[in-house]
């Protein structure tokens, strides 16, 4: 450990749930990364792969000996607008990537909170999706392929750069959302979508949660298809923001549908709508030292989940994608709350605290971990 630690330099990082700071390495080449991994494997060290370290709440108390960041490995590897795909190194920030593909008239999905801070590899490994999953689906659906580094220092490829491809097992689906517990993502390819020509945002200020969810329900009925719907608590009221975008004729028609079905919308368009959309997106809670929950539940049960959370923490301010079925909230975490949420069928990821009711990895997950990380060095969130 000491020889390796010396070479890692002065960078340190505080991991939630750990008393001491851990050494952090951010190699500037793949060769250096491979070397570090090989040394860590040989020395039996536990490695936590990270991007910019903005989502460390899920690795509370992880038994890491060192953190390995891909943030210095950044840049677009391939972007051919006519193919509608982009391939980039893991450390590329989501905002840089979005900027690169905007040149060809594309939008980057997922549109995650604070994209200047989040890296491509970190987002994919974390399984993080943006509010735009309502229309485009979760991040894992848009990952076309990857190159990854395994604990034996080998770089392997899965999938490719094609929008349609069933050649070989889709191991990238296994790696996406694996939280750095299986391997280290070096590079990924994503499918792109058309950048919207127009955007309009409707804001509803509601006196009760029920009123806000009633509006959300009205927005979910076909043929309306909002790109994102955000619900958040503002002191004594609830704010619901619906973002409509696409071709201008689509946005105009969807706006008319919203006005038919609801009352009290405050509208903005163009640059104002872009700004509001961005603000709403970036209100997602940061993962800090505070304990928090990331909850995923079928949309029809969002209301029950919110009632449970508010009963448990009356002053909490959940950040909700009600139609996509995801909730993030900073709150005290106890086993009763987690058990009640899970009894509703919700999947619960505890951040910044130990998970009091985690089922643990299944036998199959254990075998997969052993198969993909034979040296058992990666200690990310499984």
């Amino acid at each position: 450990m000491s020889a390796l630690a010396e070479r890692l330099g002065p960078l340190r990082c505080q991991l939630p749930g750990r008393d001491t700071e851990l050494p952090l390495a951010a190699p500037e080449s793949e060769a250096a990364l491979v070397e570090l991994i090989q040394e860590a494997s040989a020395g039996g060290l536990k490695v936590l792969p990270i991007g910019n370290g903005t989502r460390l709440g899920g690795v509370f108390g992880a038994p890491a000996d060192l953190l390995l960041s891909t943030r210095a490995l950044s840049g677009v590897v391939a972007y051919e607008p006519g193919d509608g795909t982009v391939t980039a190194l893991a450390g590329t920030t989501m905002s840089d990537l979005a900027g690169a593909v905007a040149v060809g008239g594309h939008r980057l999905t997922p549109d995650v909170p604070r994209p200047r801070e989040a890296t491509l590899g970190g987002v994919i490994a974390d399984g993080l999706s943006g509010g735009d999953r309502l229309r485009f689906g979760p991040t894992r659906h848009h990952v076309l392929g990857m190159r990854v580094l395994s604990s034996d220092g080998e770089i392997t490829k899965t999938g490719g750069r094609l929008v349609k491809n069933v050649t070989g097992f889709e191991l990238h689906r296994l790696y996406a959302g694996s939280g750095g517990s299986l391997c280290l993502i070096l590079e990924a390819s994503l499918r792109l979508f058309a950048a919207p020509a127009a955007r309009a945002c409707a804001t509803f200020t509601c006196s009760s949660l029920e009123a806000a969810l009633d509006i959300a329900e009205r927005l979910s009925a076909p043929p309306l298809e909002p790109t994102a719907v955000y619900l958040s608590r503002k002191e004594s009221s609830w704010s619901l923001i619906a973002s409509l975008d696409g071709r201008s004729e689509r946005v105009e028609r969807e706006r008319a549908l919203v006005e038919e079905r609801t009352q009290g919308a405050a509208w903005c368009e163009g640059a104002d709508a872009d700004a509001l959309y961005t603000t709403a997106r970036d209100e997602a809670p940061r993962e800090t030292e505070a304990s928090a929950l990331r909850i995923s539940v079928r949309p029809s049960r969002v209301q029950q989940v919110l009632h449970l959370l508010l009963r448990h923490s009356p002053n909490s301010a959940p950040y909700v994608h009600p139609l996509a079925g995801t909730v993030e909230v900073i709150t005290d975490v106890d086993s009763a709350l987690c058990a009640e949420l899970r009894a509703l069928g919700a999947s619960v990821r505890v951040r910044g605290a130990a998970d009091p009711g985690a089922a643990g990895a299944s036998a199959l997950e254990g075998r997969l971990k052993k198969a993909v990380d034979p040296h058992g060095i990666f200690c990310g969130e499984a």
């Binding site: 193919d83 490829k157 899965t158 491809n165 069933v166 050649t167 689906r173 959302g177 995923s296 995801t326």
Partner: protein
Amino acid sequence: MNSLLLHELKRIVGPEGLTTDRTRRQAYECDGLALVRKVPDLVLAPLDTAQASECMRLLKKEGLPVIPRGAGTGLAGGATPHEGGVVFKTSRMRRVLEVNERDRFARVEAGVVNVDLTSACSHHGLHYAPDPSSQQACTIGGNVANNSGGPHCFRYGATTRSILGLTVITADGEVLELGGPEPDPEGLDLVGCFVGCEGMLGVATEVSCRLIPTPETTETLLALFPSLDGACEAVTELIAANLEPSAIEILDRLTIEAVEASVLAAGYPDEADAVLLIDIDGLFEEVHGTARDVEEIARSHGAFDVRTATDAKDRARLWAGRKGAFGAMGRIAPDLYVADVVVPRTRLKEVVLATTEICKARGLKLSNVFHAGDGNLHPNISYDRRDEEEVARVLDAGTEIMKKCVAVGGSLSGEHGIGLEKRDEMHRVFSEADLDAMLRVRAAWDPDERMNPGKAIPVRGCMEVKTKPLPVPAGGGRS
């Protein structure tokens, strides 16, 4: 086969779930890849998950290879039986267990036919998006195993994007509940890992499928081109212009002639060398706007006419012609080799041209009908399998087409899978280390490698992962 085992299996599945008679077993000697045949020792058809699990436990005790099978419509030999193996078919599991309108999902048994799922939920204003050409026969379980595609995958994605959860029976007979209706299940994405496994990780017995609202309107355009080149160029520009129809298909002249001479005659014009068949769906205003843009691009690449389906019946007729095209090819020759390759969408014209030359040089009759919007080509070669010399030329052409696709950044399969047909071509795309990574994952699910052995991943002499060399059925695999 061990008579005690047969007795036990019969007790579980009943006489109708067990096929021992050789004549009846012969019906399972191949799937859509008729070039490779092997009569299975036994065909098992459990009625539900419990029966499937119990059967699998018995098969494990005997160490028998298991070949999962849906409707047998696969085209890559994924369901070709294995020496001494048991075909494990899901076609008796046909119940739609739940349609959840509010959360837009359905839970079905694996043997439900693809088109029957949409029928079961259409009165809720919902449909299931993946629509392989064989959707009148293929099963949801088979679609899961192959990560099947179809024309409308251009917008809605292949099967994997529509699968929320699975009940899987492992080679040990263990019942796994993977994923579910929640958007992001806890733990690893085992559903994503399983879809497209070609029956090598287990057998899915129940599937939770995402449903999507039926669009307010759909407009179907038929653009007529004087050349296949012009149609390919138009598609490349449609993609570059970021237009988002729901399906973009190309049919060439030989395909048009075959369809028009068949019972599925769709009214495709005989004056065109190629047609683009395009669906655009969504809101009225958006659809009309996109259709105008599509027409403009088609005409700028030489389309001499762009027709719009007049009503739902007209639209259905145009699509029935497209989906029945493979069957219609039977008019050209007794057998059809349906190649399935995928290329970057900027390279369509180049690869289609190369494909034509490859077949021409070998004196083969080629027709093209393919998912142009996804870059997913289906060069179809008509032949007679009784002519061994012609079969050799067909297989050689198939290999050359694959090589060309890989050379331009494409891959071996867009939607049919690897199966037996392309197993030994995998090294063109993946390194030894890449293939070993797949084998390690496979071993985690099925340590004894009894699930669909010998498919999709080449067996190599030297690798880190222990694997049992398996005999290749006669005629299977190409060097």
